[in-house]
């Protein structure tokens, strides 16, 4: 099947992640322009190494830095049709042990600042009456492990923001979807799998970066636009069963 894309430009938040880098490549192959953002020098270097031609077009955008979000206006001078949101800092702490400043900053960044960003992006999309928003969530939003309370709650809040935006702006051509990913063999998933004998016990629940990126590509295309205002789970059955 040939995938169709009515839009031309994708903004990828957190593009230096393994999934972000892979998705960037797939979008470029489809002929789309990509604006890959990074939030650290390490991320900037990862994008530069993989896509030297995009290095100059990779802006810094860190949800933790509210003042830095002012840079969005410059980014949005290029009409953005697609937003893929992979931006999420990890934070493992038992909720009852979480520091107050830490929890405030985490929720400010991942909920309030995310909404500020979404407001700017969707207002820009409204002028063209088209936009596709994809939020990369996690199975931790549904089933957090101990220590994932902040992360899981922020993910669930993010899903709520995206669902409401799709609901409120759907009549103006803006659709949204959250994708809950399970164990992807990269980043924090890879670190988790590398502990103990998890690669053996969870062998059939591990997904590849290519699977995740390929699914995101499909979810962006015109054929998938009816998937909106909802959350779907892609976890190789990880959260489908009651007991392991």
């Amino acid at each position: 099947m040939k995938l169709d894309f009515r839009g031309k430009t994708a903004l990828i938040l957190g593009a230096s992640s393994a999934i972000g880098l892979a998705l960037t490549g797939l979008l470029l192959e489809e002929g789309l322009a990509v604006i890959p953002t990074h939030s650290s020098a390490q991320g900037r270097d990862a994008i530069r190494e993989r896509y030297p031609d995009l290095a100059a077009a990779s802006p810094r955008l860190d949800l933790a830095d509210k003042d830095g979000l002012a840079g969005l206006a410059k980014i949005l001078e290029t009409p953005v049709d697609y937003l893929v949101d992979l931006a999420q800092a990890d934070r493992e702490v038992l909720l009852a042990a979480a520091g107050e400043a830490d929890m405030d900053a985490y929720f400010q960044a991942h909920i309030a600042h995310r909404l500020a960003l979404l407001k700017a992006v969707t207002r820009s999309m409204l002028t063209r009456r088209f936009g596709r928003l994809i939020y990369v969530s996690s199975t931790a939003a549904a089933l957090p492990a101990p220590g994932q309370g902040l992360y899981g709650a922020a993910k669930r809040a993010g899903e709520g923001l995206y669902q409401s935006l799709g609901l409120e702006l759907g009549a103006r051509g803006i659709t949204s979807l959250s994708l809950r990913l399970g164990l992807v063999d990269a980043g924090r998933g890879e670190r988790f799998l590398d502990q103990d004998d998890r690669r053996q016990t969870l062998a059939d629940k591990i997904m590849t970066v290519d699977q995740a990126a390929g699914t995101l590509l499909f979810l962006l295309c015109d054929q998938a636009l009816a998937l909106t205002c909802t959350t779907i789970t892609m976890d190789a059955g990880l959260t489908a069963q009651k007991y392991a």
């Binding site: 207002r123 409204l126 002028t127 409120e168 702006l169 009549a171």
Partner: protein, 124 residues
């Protein structure tokens, strides 16, 4: 600069109206039947086409009742409270709003024009 022509064109396009129906006196919600999603689009279009910074709450007089309620709780003068929140509107217009409030949403096309003129002055 008179932004009325641009605003009128935006309203006609978004609300699917004959531009002749749009006068400065027309009520945006009560008469032209703009809904919340329309207001969002109108604000975005004004921002882009007029090159002004738009605060939706102020532009569309969304918090008039909240401002008045707050003033009542603090024994503040209603007109003074409205003047502080909506400095782009004249005192006569604010008096008119106070009298008109029981009849429904008070926003008129002329209020959008006044906002655009004030925002352009600040921008300059």
């Amino acid at each position: 600069m008179n932004p009325f022509a641009t605003i009128s064109s935006i309203l006609a396009e978004i609300l699917d109206l004959d531009p002749a129906e749009i006068t400065p006196e027309a009520y945006v919600i009560r008469t032209l039947e703009a809904e919340s999603i329309d207001l969002l689009e109108i604000g975005v279009a004004m921002q882009h086409r007029l090159g002004i910074v738009v605060d939706d709450d102020r532009l569309f007089l969304k918090n008039v009742r909240i401002v008045l309620s707050r003033a009542q709780h603090t024994d503040a003068d209603a007109l003074t409270a409205l003047k502080s929140e909506y400095p782009h509107l004249s005192e006569d217009r604010l008096r008119e709003i106070l009298a008109d409030l029981p009849a429904g949403p008070v926003l008129r096309v002329g209020d959008l024009v006044a906002y655009a003129l004030a925002a352009a002055r600040i921008g300059n």
